[in-house]
């Protein structure tokens, strides 16, 4: 065996290990630690086992928040994915128009979360907000502080405005990678616009869409700042999503044990859904590869 083994190379991964330890492992272990104990102060603590977890899973308010959260994430995905694809399709592919379109589409992505909330908070106000005022002038009693439907619609609209661009940009790059020959062949085969989309563009977009959907799902599942600024979770708890429930519990009520348990459940849900989705897509592609 003449292969060179240089074990000093192991030292090179040390900085990365340290970084991961500080950024992920230590905070996570703290949370695990809290989730199985009842902590009163630095010296007084009791081991509680799975008690907090049971309590959290049986809490009706949290169950409602989980359902609300899923409803929200699925709704925005159902809107943003087709809309994003649509925008990517109509975006110009060449010349200065392409640059302008890219900048315009990118803009919402550059705005910080809480600022988005503030912008929409003002935008929807009945007295000075353009949208709120217009709707009222048109005779619709629009009020996000009292009408849950209005609040929901507005938050979804806000999210769509903020994040459709991400899907659009991903799809745009996917579309750009399709060689011209495909479009030329399709023209020669006399394919309709729809057929071109269905059989050339969409298949080429699958990969970027998987990434887009995963990102948007995880992202939206953790949504916090925007609804917090816009509606504060109301009216009632109609727009209180998971992360806000958690914050209220942990910071507002100082229930560290339950909120730690809840954090872990939250984390596991995201992990699980992501994993299921990813595996499903990968399996789909594997079947394709096997062919006949």
């Amino acid at each position: 065996m003449n292969k060179v083994y240089n074990n000093r190379a192991w030292w090179l991964i040390l900085p990365m290990l340290l970084l991961v330890a500080f950024s992920a492992v230590i905070p996570l272990m703290t949370v695990v630690n809290y989730s199985v104990q009842d902590v009163f102060d630095a010296n007084t603590r009791f081991f509680t086992g799975t008690e907090w977890f049971k309590e959290m899973l049986n809490d009706p308010a949290l169950q409602a928040a989980v359902l609300r959260q899923f409803a929200f994430s699925l709704t925005i995905l159902a809107i943003e994915v087709p809309l994003g694809i649509g925008i990517a399709l109509i975006m110009p592919k060449k010349g200065w128009q392409a640059s302008v379109a890219l900048i315009l589409v990118t803009m919402p992505l550059l705005i910080p979360w809480n600022v988005v909330g503030s912008i929409w908070q003002i935008f929807t106000r009945g007295d000075i907000g353009l949208m709120g005022w217009s709707l009222r002038e048109l005779g619709y009693g629009y009020n996000i502080t009292s009408n849950p439907v209005d609040a929901w619609a507005t938050i979804i609209l806000m999210d769509v405005w903020h994040w459709t661009s991400l899907i659009a940009l991903l799809c745009y790059s996917g579309l750009r990678s399709i060689p011209d020959a495909y479009y030329q062949a399709a023209r020669i085969d006399r394919a309709s616009k729809w057929a071109v989309f269905r059989y050339i563009q969409l298949p080429k977009l699958t990969n970027v869409l998987v990434i887009g959907v995963l990102l948007r799902f995880m992202h939206s599942f953790m949504i916090y700042a925007e609804p917090f600024v816009l509606t504060g979770g109301g009216p009632g708890s109609s727009t209180t999503f998971l992360s806000q429930s958690l914050t209220t519990m942990a910071i507002g009520q100082q229930d560290l044990g339950p909120s730690a348990a809840f954090s872990l459940i939250y984390f596991l849900i995201i992990l699980l859904v992501t994993w299921v989705f990813y595996t499903a897509i990968m399996n789909m592609q594997k079947d394709n590869n096997k062919g006949a």
Partner: protein
């Protein structure tokens, strides 16, 4: 079924072309007859792909006309021209099965399913794809994919011509010749006009009955493979066809003899007359390495040349010679003796070509 006519066709990618060099295609007149197997041969950048895209309608020519069966089709989009095109890299619809791929062009125009089935089965049979019909097209090998893209052209009975744009580029060398044979088969069976674009002389000559050689945006010769080899019409054809290409000697007539540098050449009277009559001073004699007679002993009418070196290429050799200061290559067969030092060359009259301003000039043989 169609005859394709190109009338004073020109194309430029620039907005304000100034010189002829700015044109990808210059003043091109050409006819592809119905049912022929043609090749468009030329080096990269000679304008051949541009021409192909103009014929299929993917590109609009800057000037001139494209006619199908005598009708101008300049304004028709590709989908209305009844043309099929096979691209360099196989274009297949990934998510569809082979069957659906082949059926696609028919279903796009709402052909009844029974008719679709009949055509697909027929074409699959010809292309030997029948056993693959149920497979997803994206799992096929490159040559199978290329057959599928060819098949999409063949299923349509309204297709008047199939254009091939270097279709064998991505095919494994060992499989190339079976596909070439398949192409010939298909042509003989379907009698469709086929135009095959390539930079490879083997592909062109194997496929086509007649080859158009393109050089700097123009067709410099349109002829059978044999004509291109034996009587190249332009010095470029002589150089480009054959490995190694044709030898060219700059010559002039002086004192009743034909001179290459400081050496008087032994050539027939007709060549001498033609050189004397020529209005240009750009005069060359061309002879292929295969046709130079190389002797190791002095022979009658033999011109003595210096042997630089010989290269053994297995069953034949190429001998590098200098005659009148000009380098020549000659091919020597295995059973022939390879000369050293000095060799005596003869140029057979019927194999010698005279080129004035790069184009071949006919010579009177006595």
């Amino acid at each position: 079924m169609a005859e394709i006519t190109l009338k004073s066709l020109a194309h430029t990618y620039l907005e304000n072309p100034k010189s002829p060099q700015d044109y990808a295609i210059r003043e091109l007149n050409h006819v592809w007859q119905q049912g022929g197997a043609y090749a468009l041969l030329g080096p990269s950048g000679c304008g051949k792909s541009t021409l192909l895209n103009i014929i299929s309608g993917l590109l609009e020519p800057s000037s001139g006309e494209v006619l199908f069966d005598g009708e101008v089709v300049n304004d028709l989009p590709p989908e209305a021209r009844n043309i099929a095109q096979v691209f360099q890299f196989p274009v297949i619809y990934d998510t569809m099965t082979v069957y659906d791929n082949l059926a696609f062009p028919l279903r796009n125009v709402k052909t009844p399913e029974a008719r679709v089935h009949e055509r697909v089965m027929e074409v699959a049979d010809v292309l030997e794809l029948t056993s693959q019909l149920k497979r997803k097209a994206k799992n096929l090998t490159a040559d199978e994919k290329q057959k599928v893209s060819m098949g999409r052209g063949l299923v349509r009975d309204d297709v008047s011509a199939i254009l091939f744009d270097e279709p064998l580029t991505v095919i494994d060398p060992q499989l190339k010749w079976t596909l070439r044979r398949k192409l010939k088969d298909i042509h003989q069976r379907f009698q469709i006009t086929m135009v095959y674009v390539t930079h490879d002389q083997l592909e062109a000559s194997t496929f086509a009955d007649k080859i158009a050689v393109m050089y700097e945006g123009q067709v410099v010769q349109f002829g059978t493979p044999r004509e291109l080899f034996e009587t190249p019409n332009h010095t470029f054809v002589g150089y480009f066809i054959g490995s190694p290409g044709m030898n060219f000697l700059d010559v002039s007539a002086r004192d009743g003899a034909v001179w290459a540098g400081d050496t008087a050449l032994t050539v027939e009277q007709g060549v001498r007359d033609a050189i004397e009559k020529a209005s240009s001073s750009n005069i060359k004699l061309g002879i292929r390495p295969e046709f130079i007679e190389v002797h190791t002993e002095p022979v009658e009418g033999g011109m003595s040349a210096q042997v630089d070196h010989a290269q053994d290429l297995g069953t034949y050799s190429i001998v590098y010679l200098t005659l009148g200061g000009i380098s020549l290559k000659a091919r020597i067969e295995e059973d022939q003796t390879t000369p050293t030092g000095t060799a005596w060359l003869r140029f057979p009259d019927e194999r010698l070509g005279l080129y004035v301003d790069e184009y071949r000039v006919e010579v009177d043989h006595e």
